[in-house]
């Protein structure tokens, strides 16, 4: 007689990304997941692009010209940002998983996010 509207279900993955009104941990989790998916996509894209190296100088260098295009640069910046965010948040998860800083996990998250923003700004400056 109970309805299933409110029950857990696989279709509810949007709940990973519903940190509205939630604590730092939810933002970290949502961020971690988005950057993870983005980085994995880029990993295989990157492996594919590198195959041009095997075809000799022409193909690869022509491709490099593309990297001047501002949109591609933005994409690369996004990858760099994702790597930094995911990396630092990963360290936070590993530290807390071993009981280090568990009571201060929020501060850890805010601290790491600050570092990420700074590094990302440096890279942006370098790139443009």
């Amino acid at each position: 007689m109970n309805n299933t509207r409110n029950q857990p279900s696989a279709r509810k993955f949007w709940s990973w990304f519903m940190p509205v009104g939630r604590q730092a941990g939810s933002w970290a989790f949502a961020l971690n997941r988005i950057t993870a998916i983005g980085l994995t996509f880029y990993l295989f894209l990157h492996l594919g692009v590198l195959s041009l190296l095997a075809q000799g100088p022409g193909a690869y260098d022509d491709f490099l010209v593309l990297t001047e295009n501002p949109f591609i640069k933005l994409g690369e910046l996004a990858v760099v940002a994702a790597a930094i965010l995911h990396g630092l948040n990963g360290i936070r998860i590993i530290l807390t998983s071993f009981g280090v800083g568990v009571t201060r996990q929020k501060q850890l998250f805010y601290g790491f996010m600050l570092i990420s923003v700074l590094v990302i700004l440096i890279f942006t400056a370098r790139m443009y």
Binding site: A10, D61, S97
Partner: protein
């Protein structure tokens, strides 16, 4: 004291994740952070292009020292392992059925192994181009 009708799920605990998978994921994590840092620096500072990226010749020259392909292959293995275990974790959160999970696990393993093999071949061909 707990009655059989009281166990959480009829089929008992599902073996999709275990200590070793998790340990591999969190071992490759920090390793990745270090190697990625080197990779960034190598690619964005020593390259001859204005943006720091390496041209074809740069790459070939860079790969002459045999340490570099070794590091790049190690890097490839860790990043592929880490990302595919993580991806599998995300898929697990979609609550797949038992055989879907088996298929997914197989696909990811094949994808992982083949990209590592392809990476090793690529690294070696680049290294050999220099001689």
């Amino acid at each position: 004291m707990s009655q059989s009708t009281l166990s959480s799920s009829a089929s008992g605990p599902r073996p999709g994740e275990n200590t070793w998978i998790w340990l591999i994921k969190i071992a490759t994590g920090p390793l990745l952070v270090i190697v990625l840092l080197l990779h960034f620096i190598a690619n964005h500072y020593f390259g001859s292009m204005s943006s720091g990226l390496m041209t074809y010749e740069d790459v070939i020259k860079y790969f002459q020292n045999p340490i570099i392909p070794a590091i790049e292959i190690l890097f490839l293995i860790t990043v592929v392992t880490h990302s595919l275990i993580g991806l599998r974790g995300i898929i697990l959160d979609m609550n797949p059925s038992r055989n879907t999970l088996k298929i997914v696990t197989w696909l990811l393993t094949i994808l992982g192994v083949s990209s590592v093999v392809y990476g090793i071949w690529l690294a070696l061909t680049i290294a050999s181009k220099g001689s």
